[in-house]
């Protein structure tokens, strides 16, 4: 068992539409098909996650309808601020984090809304600052996407203006001296008057510091340009490594980049996307995932699996395993980091339907199995330095969040890998992030 002072796994629970990430989740047994518009459902997930001492809820977001609603639910929440505020009113500790686009929003709006959420939640808000890369989202705002360089230039400006607005009240500016008739010390509330090439704001924001000073910054995606944003401003980074090697490479690059700008690399935490399916056995977990797979195009997927492992597979073979000849001829595609794992699973003798049910072509690593299988995977990645924690895309249907909290969390705790209670009351406390007002002086 690691020493009590050793780093521990951090957990984010990804929630969005009230059903979970899988396309057919909205019509699973035990699922309310109207969950998308029922704040109570989302609030209950947040409460369950809080019961499990999970550090934060994360709502990934792009302001666009990007799925075919004939069969699938929308990917994203009705609105992140509305959903997180609803959660804030019915929870006390768990962090509340959402994406808001640096490409499509003005910094004053972001600063005001996330700070108000930070106030309403008593210091539990975080902002995932990402440029938007989907042209249809830009079209919702009447624009075409800027160049990648312009988007990242703007992202830096937006984060800096937002942080400056957040810091426009000093920590002790809000006096509230009833006897002395002094509401605030205006010498400690200052405009920011920043103007960049893309955005500008005068300020100040009309909101005092929260219990954690100001919201926590997260970052996701973007290659080297994204790494630079993360290194300069972020406390948490959402990443999508398929393998331990990929995770370690990303985390090492992130830590090195943070060090280059003068930060302690331990201040930047990498959350690896992860889709666990917990059941009494691997077979039961696969059955659970097979139900979810009914909504996806398995014919297309089986062909894609073939291209991944170098075999011309057809849907006719869906309920058979690979033959000995096929196994001998198979070659993992060097262009897809998921390919070796896909072949490993196929070599275990599963039918192609079950190979796919293992999630070998999903967009995060999938572990279908017992709570111990899931905990083993997390432990292996964490101890290999592939991540500081996980961003969990749990299949939430039929008490999926409860199952994770009741079965996986205790195992991680027994192994000394996960805290047994929140370290404090704010998101900064949960992440070990230092207090902050305004832009970080170490970077100026």
């Amino acid at each position: 068992m690691p020493s009590p002072d050793a780093p521990q796994i951090l957990l984010a629970l990804q929630l969005a539409n009230g059903y979970g990430a899988q396309p057919g989740a909205w019509r699973m047994p035990g699922t309310d098909p109207s969950a998308y518009t029922d704040m109570d459902v989302l609030v209950r997930y947040a409460q369950t996650a809080e019961r499990g001492k999970i550090q934060l809820i994360f709502l990934a977001d792009t302001p666009v309808l990007d799925v075919d609603l004939e069969q699938q639910a929308p990917h994203h929440a009705t609105d992140p601020i509305v959903v997180l505020t609803s959660m804030a009113r019915s929870t006390e500790r768990i962090g509340l984090v959402a994406t808001s686009s640096t490409t499509l929003n003005e910094p004053f709006t972001i600063a005001r809304q996330f700070k108000a959420l930070d106030i309403a939640s008593h210091g539990r808000a975080g902002w995932n600052a990402v440029p938007t890369s989907i042209p249809a989202a830009a079209a919702n705002y009447g624009i075409t996407l800027p160049s990648r360089q312009d988007k990242y230039e703007r992202a830096h400006e937006v984060v800096q203006v937002v942080q400056a607005l957040w810091g426009s009240w000093e920590a002790d500016a809000w006096v509230r001296d009833v006897e002395g008739r002094r509401f605030a010390d205006m010498s400690k509330i200052r405009p920011v008057n920043l103007r960049g090439r893309h955005v500008a704001s005068a300020g100040p924001l009309a909101i005092p510091p929260s219990e954690q000073g100001q919201p926590v910054i997260f970052q996701a995606g973007g290659g080297d340009a994204g790494l630079e944003v993360a290194a300069r401003y972020a406390t948490g980074v959402y990443a999508n490594p398929f393998t331990i090697d990929e995770g370690r490479a990303h985390r090492d690059a992130l830590r090195a980049a943070a060090e280059r700008v003068g930060r302690d690399p331990d201040e930047v935490k990498l959350f690896a996307g992860f889709m666990p399916t917990v059941a009494a056995s691997r077979r039961a977990a696969l059955d659970r995932r097979r139900i979810l797979d009914e909504s996806v195009d398995l014919d297309q997927r089986v062909r894609y699996l073939g291209s991944m492992i170098g075999l011309p597979l057809t849907p006719a073979q869906l309920d058979e395993p690979l033959s000995a000849d096929q196994l001998a001829a198979a070659r993992p595609s060097p262009g897809d980091p998921r390919a070796p794992h896909a072949l490993d699973v196929a070599q275990e003798g599963w039918t192609l339907r079950d190979v796919l049910a293992h999630g070998v072509i999903d967009y995060h690593p999938v572990v279908p199995g017992t709570a111990a299988d899931v905990a083993d995977h997390m432990q292996e990645w964490f101890e290999a330095g592939a991540c500081d924690g996980f961003s969990l895309a749990v299949d939430v249907y039929a008490d999926g969040v409860d199952t994770f909290v009741d079965e996986v969390v205790p195992l991680l705790q027994q192994r000394g890998l996960f805290h047994t209670d929140y370290e404090g009351t704010t998101l900064r406390d949960h992440l070990g992030a230092p207090a902050q007002y305004g832009t970080d002086p170490r970077l100026s």
Copy 2:
């Protein structure tokens, strides 16, 4: 008593910062000086208003710090969407309305956030669509204010795009057919693809209709240009008449303008701003207001009062009434509609301090008095056709909202002037507004 079918008064409770509208309200007895950041305080006011069957909460808003915080609290809520969502979670009937600037926000953001609030509140949201006229607010968004003509041209475009986005799902588009594996009918969910001179959006919005279809539109201010916005789109209009004549003129103009664009004038309701102070007697109400007045510059106000009634008044006379000579020489300024009322009050023999405590130079009509005095005023205005209801800037301190609900509301109900229960569950129900999806076909 009017017949049961006669129109009744509509009531909006203006809330903003948790203290009430008066500058010194934050430090009054019984007031939490931290109420600005305490959602619980604001939620309790909403619950009290709901107990009184008040139709809606209204948060006026401008995204700017426009007061000197040394002595005063901010005028506006930390963020309207965060505050109204907090209220939505702890109330069941009352409408939830806030201003969002048509000058500074993109229509997709407004459409998404107010629709999400409408979903979270089960059909109780409303949007007060107003251009911004404060240069410092524009500077927070990095721009200088456009011309008045451009602002109103943009306002029309923004409202039309927002309503089109709200209507991008037909009423029965959200199928949720679990057996048939059909989440929605995509033939009934359509992009809007609107492009104006100022704003554009592709859509669709990823949010189904709420229980009231889509949020209700409100409007405020803007002279003839504002009247045109109100006539075309609004169900409720916030107005600031100082006299019955002013209210009637505004309401008549509004109804005529609505008729010109083909609407039933009864669909547009004028809410007159009103600041009641309820106490056991007028003397007690004046004392209550005098405490609040301690935070304002009475020296300046007494001089202003003088200019209103044509006398060179000085602070030296603050605790004396006007002399007989002064009363004989006084002439109400024709440029200030509040002047005749100010002189009427002075003629009753009050000291200048008490004349000012009557609110004669406040920005809404003030009635300091008993519940019956307040109800009499409301009845007189309403029956004279000066308004369809009132936007109440109650002095909330020390249970001011409870006092209004427990003392004034029953009187209005006894007189047949105010409903005794909500007519339905949605804001449209409360206002008698027809269901709406998208832009109104009668206007197209």
